[in-house]
Symmetry: C2
Subunit: 186 residues, 2 copies
Protein backbone atom coordinates (compact mmCIF):
# COMPACT_ATOMS: atom_id res chain seq x y z
CA UNK A 1 0.00 0.00 0.00
CA UNK A 2 1.80 3.12 -1.15
CA UNK A 3 -0.84 5.83 -1.40
CA UNK A 4 -1.42 8.16 1.51
CA UNK A 5 -4.22 7.25 3.88
CA UNK A 6 -5.66 9.74 6.34
CA UNK A 7 -5.97 8.82 10.01
CA UNK A 8 -7.70 10.52 12.96
CA UNK A 9 -6.22 13.63 14.58
CA UNK A 10 -4.37 14.69 11.41
CA UNK A 11 -2.03 11.70 11.23
CA UNK A 12 -1.53 9.86 7.92
CA UNK A 13 -0.01 6.62 6.65
CA UNK A 14 2.46 7.23 3.79
CA UNK A 15 3.31 3.58 3.17
CA UNK A 16 2.58 0.18 4.68
CA UNK A 17 4.01 -3.31 4.26
CA UNK A 18 4.03 -6.61 6.13
CA UNK A 19 7.41 -7.61 7.60
CA UNK A 20 6.13 -10.87 9.03
CA UNK A 21 2.84 -12.66 8.55
CA UNK A 22 2.51 -16.00 10.30
CA UNK A 23 0.71 -17.65 13.20
CA UNK A 24 1.56 -15.79 16.44
CA UNK A 25 3.54 -13.01 14.74
CA UNK A 26 2.15 -10.57 12.22
CA UNK A 27 3.99 -7.26 11.94
CA UNK A 28 3.13 -4.30 9.74
CA UNK A 29 5.76 -1.62 9.13
CA UNK A 30 4.38 1.79 8.23
CA UNK A 31 5.68 5.24 7.42
CA UNK A 32 3.60 7.77 9.34
CA UNK A 33 3.23 11.53 9.09
CA UNK A 34 2.23 13.46 12.20
CA UNK A 35 0.02 16.56 12.12
CA UNK A 36 3.17 18.61 12.87
CA UNK A 37 4.77 17.29 9.66
CA UNK A 38 7.24 15.00 11.47
CA UNK A 39 7.73 11.66 9.72
CA UNK A 40 8.18 8.37 11.57
CA UNK A 41 9.99 6.22 8.97
CA UNK A 42 9.31 2.80 10.52
CA UNK A 43 6.33 2.40 12.87
CA UNK A 44 5.55 -1.21 13.77
CA UNK A 45 2.04 -2.52 14.38
CA UNK A 46 1.62 -6.02 15.81
CA UNK A 47 -1.60 -7.62 14.54
CA UNK A 48 -3.29 -10.08 16.87
CA UNK A 49 -6.73 -11.61 17.20
CA UNK A 50 -8.74 -10.37 20.18
CA UNK A 51 -8.05 -12.00 23.52
CA UNK A 52 -10.38 -12.96 26.38
CA UNK A 53 -10.01 -13.53 30.11
CA UNK A 54 -12.38 -14.34 32.96
CA UNK A 55 -12.66 -13.72 36.69
CA UNK A 56 -14.34 -17.04 37.51
CA UNK A 57 -15.92 -17.64 40.95
CA UNK A 58 -17.40 -20.83 42.36
CA UNK A 59 -20.70 -20.82 44.30
CA UNK A 60 -18.75 -20.75 47.59
CA UNK A 61 -16.71 -17.71 46.57
CA UNK A 62 -13.47 -19.36 45.42
CA UNK A 63 -11.65 -17.82 42.46
CA UNK A 64 -10.46 -20.20 39.71
CA UNK A 65 -6.90 -19.32 38.66
CA UNK A 66 -4.31 -21.07 36.50
CA UNK A 67 -0.57 -21.21 36.83
CA UNK A 68 1.86 -21.58 33.93
CA UNK A 69 5.39 -20.87 32.76
CA UNK A 70 5.60 -17.74 30.61
CA UNK A 71 8.60 -17.81 28.35
CA UNK A 72 9.09 -14.12 27.52
CA UNK A 73 9.78 -13.28 31.15
CA UNK A 74 11.26 -16.71 31.91
CA UNK A 75 9.05 -17.23 34.96
CA UNK A 76 5.86 -18.73 36.31
CA UNK A 77 2.88 -16.84 37.71
CA UNK A 78 -0.78 -17.16 38.59
CA UNK A 79 -3.23 -15.86 36.00
CA UNK A 80 -6.87 -15.62 35.14
CA UNK A 81 -7.96 -18.23 32.64
CA UNK A 82 -7.36 -16.49 29.30
CA UNK A 83 -6.96 -17.16 25.61
CA UNK A 84 -7.53 -16.15 22.03
CA UNK A 85 -10.96 -15.53 20.51
CA UNK A 86 -11.01 -17.97 17.59
CA UNK A 87 -12.93 -17.30 14.35
CA UNK A 88 -15.13 -20.27 15.32
CA UNK A 89 -16.22 -18.61 18.59
CA UNK A 90 -19.59 -16.91 18.00
CA UNK A 91 -18.79 -14.11 20.49
CA UNK A 92 -15.94 -13.13 22.82
CA UNK A 93 -18.02 -14.48 25.73
CA UNK A 94 -18.30 -17.85 23.99
CA UNK A 95 -14.51 -17.81 23.53
CA UNK A 96 -14.04 -17.10 27.24
CA UNK A 97 -16.45 -19.92 28.20
CA UNK A 98 -14.62 -22.33 25.88
CA UNK A 99 -11.21 -21.35 27.30
CA UNK A 100 -12.42 -21.74 30.89
CA UNK A 101 -13.78 -25.20 30.15
CA UNK A 102 -10.68 -26.32 28.21
CA UNK A 103 -8.11 -24.99 30.67
CA UNK A 104 -9.86 -25.62 33.99
CA UNK A 105 -12.90 -27.88 33.45
CA UNK A 106 -15.18 -25.22 35.00
CA UNK A 107 -18.37 -24.14 33.25
CA UNK A 108 -21.93 -22.96 33.67
CA UNK A 109 -22.58 -20.00 35.95
CA UNK A 110 -23.72 -16.42 35.44
CA UNK A 111 -21.54 -14.37 33.09
CA UNK A 112 -21.34 -10.62 32.51
CA UNK A 113 -18.96 -8.53 30.38
CA UNK A 114 -16.59 -6.90 32.87
CA UNK A 115 -14.41 -4.56 30.84
CA UNK A 116 -12.78 -4.19 27.43
CA UNK A 117 -9.16 -3.06 27.33
CA UNK A 118 -6.31 -2.54 24.90
CA UNK A 119 -3.19 -4.58 25.74
CA UNK A 120 -1.12 -1.86 24.08
CA UNK A 121 -2.87 0.68 21.85
CA UNK A 122 0.48 1.99 20.52
CA UNK A 123 1.88 -1.33 19.31
CA UNK A 124 -0.93 -3.93 19.19
CA UNK A 125 -4.17 -3.68 17.23
CA UNK A 126 -6.26 -6.00 19.37
CA UNK A 127 -8.54 -5.83 22.42
CA UNK A 128 -8.99 -7.97 25.51
CA UNK A 129 -12.58 -8.79 26.45
CA UNK A 130 -12.73 -9.43 30.20
CA UNK A 131 -15.62 -11.28 31.83
CA UNK A 132 -16.89 -11.88 35.36
CA UNK A 133 -18.43 -15.34 35.85
CA UNK A 134 -20.17 -16.23 39.11
CA UNK A 135 -21.26 -19.69 40.24
CA UNK A 136 -19.10 -21.66 37.81
CA UNK A 137 -18.78 -25.35 38.68
CA UNK A 138 -16.38 -28.16 37.83
CA UNK A 139 -18.16 -29.99 35.02
CA UNK A 140 -15.33 -31.72 33.12
CA UNK A 141 -11.63 -32.58 33.23
CA UNK A 142 -9.33 -29.84 31.89
CA UNK A 143 -8.19 -30.45 28.29
CA UNK A 144 -5.28 -28.08 27.67
CA UNK A 145 -3.54 -27.90 24.27
CA UNK A 146 -0.32 -29.97 23.94
CA UNK A 147 1.52 -26.60 23.81
CA UNK A 148 0.16 -25.67 27.26
CA UNK A 149 1.14 -26.93 30.70
CA UNK A 150 -1.37 -25.43 33.04
CA UNK A 151 -2.32 -26.22 36.63
CA UNK A 152 -5.61 -25.08 38.17
CA UNK A 153 -5.85 -23.48 41.63
CA UNK A 154 -8.66 -22.14 43.81
CA UNK A 155 -8.22 -19.17 46.16
CA UNK A 156 -10.62 -17.27 48.37
CA UNK A 157 -11.10 -13.51 48.18
CA UNK A 158 -8.61 -12.74 50.93
CA UNK A 159 -5.93 -14.94 49.37
CA UNK A 160 -6.53 -13.42 45.94
CA UNK A 161 -6.18 -9.89 47.31
CA UNK A 162 -2.89 -10.86 48.96
CA UNK A 163 -1.66 -12.29 45.64
CA UNK A 164 -2.41 -9.01 43.86
CA UNK A 165 -0.26 -7.21 46.41
CA UNK A 166 2.67 -9.66 46.66
CA UNK A 167 3.47 -10.05 42.94
CA UNK A 168 1.99 -13.53 42.48
CA UNK A 169 -0.11 -12.12 39.62
CA UNK A 170 1.87 -9.93 37.20
CA UNK A 171 0.00 -9.76 33.90
CA UNK A 172 -1.35 -6.26 33.20
CA UNK A 173 -4.41 -7.46 31.29
CA UNK A 174 -5.38 -9.59 34.33
CA UNK A 175 -4.50 -7.05 37.02
CA UNK A 176 -6.79 -4.43 35.46
CA UNK A 177 -10.02 -6.50 35.75
CA UNK A 178 -8.97 -7.93 39.13
CA UNK A 179 -8.22 -4.54 40.72
CA UNK A 180 -11.48 -3.24 39.22
CA UNK A 181 -13.20 -6.15 40.97
CA UNK A 182 -11.71 -5.15 44.33
CA UNK A 183 -12.60 -1.48 43.73
CA UNK A 184 -16.17 -2.14 42.63
CA UNK A 185 -17.39 -5.37 44.24
CA UNK A 186 -17.51 -4.94 48.00
CA UNK B 1 22.53 -20.19 19.66
CA UNK B 2 21.96 -23.87 18.85
CA UNK B 3 22.73 -25.77 22.02
CA UNK B 4 19.93 -26.69 24.40
CA UNK B 5 19.34 -24.34 27.33
CA UNK B 6 17.28 -25.37 30.34
CA UNK B 7 14.46 -23.13 31.56
CA UNK B 8 12.30 -23.21 34.72
CA UNK B 9 9.52 -25.78 35.13
CA UNK B 10 11.16 -28.31 32.81
CA UNK B 11 10.97 -26.21 29.64
CA UNK B 12 14.03 -25.85 27.38
CA UNK B 13 15.20 -23.72 24.45
CA UNK B 14 16.42 -25.87 21.53
CA UNK B 15 17.43 -22.97 19.26
CA UNK B 16 17.22 -19.20 19.21
CA UNK B 17 17.76 -16.51 16.58
CA UNK B 18 16.90 -12.86 16.03
CA UNK B 19 14.36 -12.19 13.27
CA UNK B 20 14.45 -8.44 13.70
CA UNK B 21 16.74 -6.24 15.72
CA UNK B 22 16.15 -2.52 15.42
CA UNK B 23 14.84 0.44 17.41
CA UNK B 24 11.21 -0.29 18.47
CA UNK B 25 11.16 -3.86 17.18
CA UNK B 26 13.40 -6.66 18.38
CA UNK B 27 12.05 -10.17 17.87
CA UNK B 28 13.65 -13.45 18.91
CA UNK B 29 12.38 -16.68 17.37
CA UNK B 30 13.00 -19.79 19.48
CA UNK B 31 12.30 -23.49 19.31
CA UNK B 32 11.00 -24.62 22.70
CA UNK B 33 10.49 -28.03 24.27
CA UNK B 34 7.82 -28.43 26.94
CA UNK B 35 8.16 -30.72 29.93
CA UNK B 36 5.63 -33.05 28.21
CA UNK B 37 8.00 -33.38 25.21
CA UNK B 38 5.85 -31.22 22.90
CA UNK B 39 7.91 -28.93 20.65
CA UNK B 40 6.87 -25.40 19.74
CA UNK B 41 8.82 -24.81 16.50
CA UNK B 42 8.57 -21.01 16.38
CA UNK B 43 7.96 -19.11 19.64
CA UNK B 44 8.37 -15.34 19.34
CA UNK B 45 9.71 -13.13 22.11
CA UNK B 46 9.48 -9.35 21.73
CA UNK B 47 12.37 -7.63 23.48
CA UNK B 48 11.68 -4.16 24.88
CA UNK B 49 13.28 -1.86 27.42
CA UNK B 50 11.32 -1.45 30.64
CA UNK B 51 8.49 1.07 30.61
CA UNK B 52 7.28 3.50 33.29
CA UNK B 53 4.03 5.28 34.08
CA UNK B 54 2.80 7.59 36.82
CA UNK B 55 -0.44 8.43 38.60
CA UNK B 56 0.36 12.12 39.14
CA UNK B 57 -1.77 14.26 41.49
CA UNK B 58 -1.60 18.00 42.11
CA UNK B 59 -1.80 19.46 45.66
CA UNK B 60 -5.53 20.13 45.15
CA UNK B 61 -6.28 16.53 44.12
CA UNK B 62 -6.33 16.87 40.33
CA UNK B 63 -4.94 13.99 38.27
CA UNK B 64 -2.55 14.86 35.42
CA UNK B 65 -3.42 12.88 32.30
CA UNK B 66 -2.33 13.07 28.69
CA UNK B 67 -4.24 12.45 25.50
CA UNK B 68 -2.73 11.18 22.27
CA UNK B 69 -3.46 9.31 19.05
CA UNK B 70 -2.42 5.65 19.25
CA UNK B 71 -1.78 4.21 15.84
CA UNK B 72 -2.12 0.47 16.45
CA UNK B 73 -5.78 0.85 17.43
CA UNK B 74 -6.31 3.88 15.19
CA UNK B 75 -7.84 5.95 17.97
CA UNK B 76 -7.24 8.54 20.66
CA UNK B 77 -7.55 8.02 24.40
CA UNK B 78 -6.61 9.47 27.76
CA UNK B 79 -3.57 7.95 29.44
CA UNK B 80 -1.24 8.26 32.37
CA UNK B 81 2.01 9.97 31.51
CA UNK B 82 4.23 7.05 30.44
CA UNK B 83 7.39 6.23 28.55
CA UNK B 84 10.51 4.16 28.15
CA UNK B 85 13.22 3.84 30.81
CA UNK B 86 16.33 5.03 28.94
CA UNK B 87 19.82 3.71 29.72
CA UNK B 88 20.66 7.23 30.90
CA UNK B 89 17.93 7.17 33.57
CA UNK B 90 19.54 6.20 36.90
CA UNK B 91 16.39 4.37 38.09
CA UNK B 92 12.89 3.66 36.78
CA UNK B 93 11.60 6.41 39.12
CA UNK B 94 14.00 8.91 37.54
CA UNK B 95 12.71 7.83 34.12
CA UNK B 96 9.13 8.41 35.26
CA UNK B 97 10.02 11.85 36.66
CA UNK B 98 11.76 12.78 33.40
CA UNK B 99 8.79 11.62 31.31
CA UNK B 100 6.31 13.53 33.47
CA UNK B 101 8.36 16.72 33.14
CA UNK B 102 8.90 16.32 29.37
CA UNK B 103 5.33 15.39 28.49
CA UNK B 104 3.38 17.57 30.94
CA UNK B 105 5.73 20.11 32.56
CA UNK B 106 4.79 18.79 36.04
CA UNK B 107 7.48 17.92 38.57
CA UNK B 108 8.43 17.83 42.22
CA UNK B 109 6.07 16.13 44.66
CA UNK B 110 6.20 12.98 46.74
CA UNK B 111 6.78 9.78 44.78
CA UNK B 112 6.32 6.14 45.76
CA UNK B 113 6.63 2.92 43.71
CA UNK B 114 3.04 1.80 43.13
CA UNK B 115 3.30 -1.55 41.36
CA UNK B 116 5.43 -3.49 38.89
CA UNK B 117 3.63 -5.37 36.15
CA UNK B 118 4.33 -7.39 33.01
CA UNK B 119 2.70 -5.96 29.88
CA UNK B 120 2.58 -9.50 28.48
CA UNK B 121 4.71 -12.21 30.13
CA UNK B 122 4.06 -14.64 27.24
CA UNK B 123 5.25 -12.38 24.42
CA UNK B 124 7.21 -9.44 25.85
CA UNK B 125 10.29 -9.62 28.06
CA UNK B 126 9.90 -6.26 29.80
CA UNK B 127 8.25 -4.80 32.89
CA UNK B 128 6.27 -1.64 33.59
CA UNK B 129 7.26 0.27 36.73
CA UNK B 130 4.22 2.23 37.93
CA UNK B 131 4.52 5.17 40.35
CA UNK B 132 2.18 7.28 42.45
CA UNK B 133 3.24 10.92 42.70
CA UNK B 134 1.40 13.31 45.02
CA UNK B 135 1.70 17.10 45.13
CA UNK B 136 3.30 17.51 41.70
CA UNK B 137 3.25 21.09 40.38
CA UNK B 138 3.56 22.76 37.01
CA UNK B 139 7.21 23.82 36.90
CA UNK B 140 7.97 24.04 33.16
CA UNK B 141 6.44 24.00 29.71
CA UNK B 142 5.92 20.51 28.22
CA UNK B 143 8.66 19.49 25.76
CA UNK B 144 7.35 16.46 23.88
CA UNK B 145 9.48 14.66 21.27
CA UNK B 146 8.80 15.66 17.62
CA UNK B 147 7.32 12.15 17.20
CA UNK B 148 4.73 12.86 19.92
CA UNK B 149 1.61 15.02 19.82
CA UNK B 150 0.35 15.11 23.36
CA UNK B 151 -2.14 17.30 25.14
CA UNK B 152 -2.26 17.61 28.94
CA UNK B 153 -5.50 17.47 30.93
CA UNK B 154 -6.46 17.68 34.61
CA UNK B 155 -9.36 15.75 36.12
CA UNK B 156 -10.64 15.38 39.66
CA UNK B 157 -11.13 12.02 41.36
CA UNK B 158 -14.79 11.74 40.44
CA UNK B 159 -14.13 12.56 36.79
CA UNK B 160 -11.24 10.08 36.66
CA UNK B 161 -13.41 7.30 38.10
CA UNK B 162 -16.07 8.00 35.49
CA UNK B 163 -13.42 7.83 32.73
CA UNK B 164 -12.30 4.40 33.95
CA UNK B 165 -15.87 3.18 33.62
CA UNK B 166 -16.83 4.82 30.30
CA UNK B 167 -13.88 3.63 28.17
CA UNK B 168 -12.03 6.96 28.03
CA UNK B 169 -8.95 5.14 29.36
CA UNK B 170 -8.25 1.84 27.59
CA UNK B 171 -4.59 0.93 28.11
CA UNK B 172 -4.19 -2.19 30.29
CA UNK B 173 -0.89 -1.08 31.85
CA UNK B 174 -2.59 2.17 32.97
CA UNK B 175 -5.90 0.65 34.07
CA UNK B 176 -4.13 -1.76 36.44
CA UNK B 177 -2.48 0.95 38.58
CA UNK B 178 -5.54 3.24 38.36
CA UNK B 179 -8.02 0.57 39.48
CA UNK B 180 -5.57 -0.39 42.24
CA UNK B 181 -5.65 3.25 43.31
CA UNK B 182 -9.44 3.23 43.55
CA UNK B 183 -9.37 -0.09 45.42
CA UNK B 184 -6.67 0.92 47.89
CA UNK B 185 -6.78 4.70 48.34
CA UNK B 186 -10.09 5.69 49.87
Amino acid sequence: MNHERNLPEGWSVLSSQYLQHEAWLTVRCEQLKLPNGHIIPRYFVLEYPDWVNTIAMTPDGQFVLVRQYRHAIGGTAYELCAGVADPTDATPMEAARRELLEETGYGGGEWIPWMQIAPNPATSDNWVHCFLARKVEKIAAPKPEPSEQISVHLFDRKQLKAMLLDGSIIQATHLAPLWKFFAEER
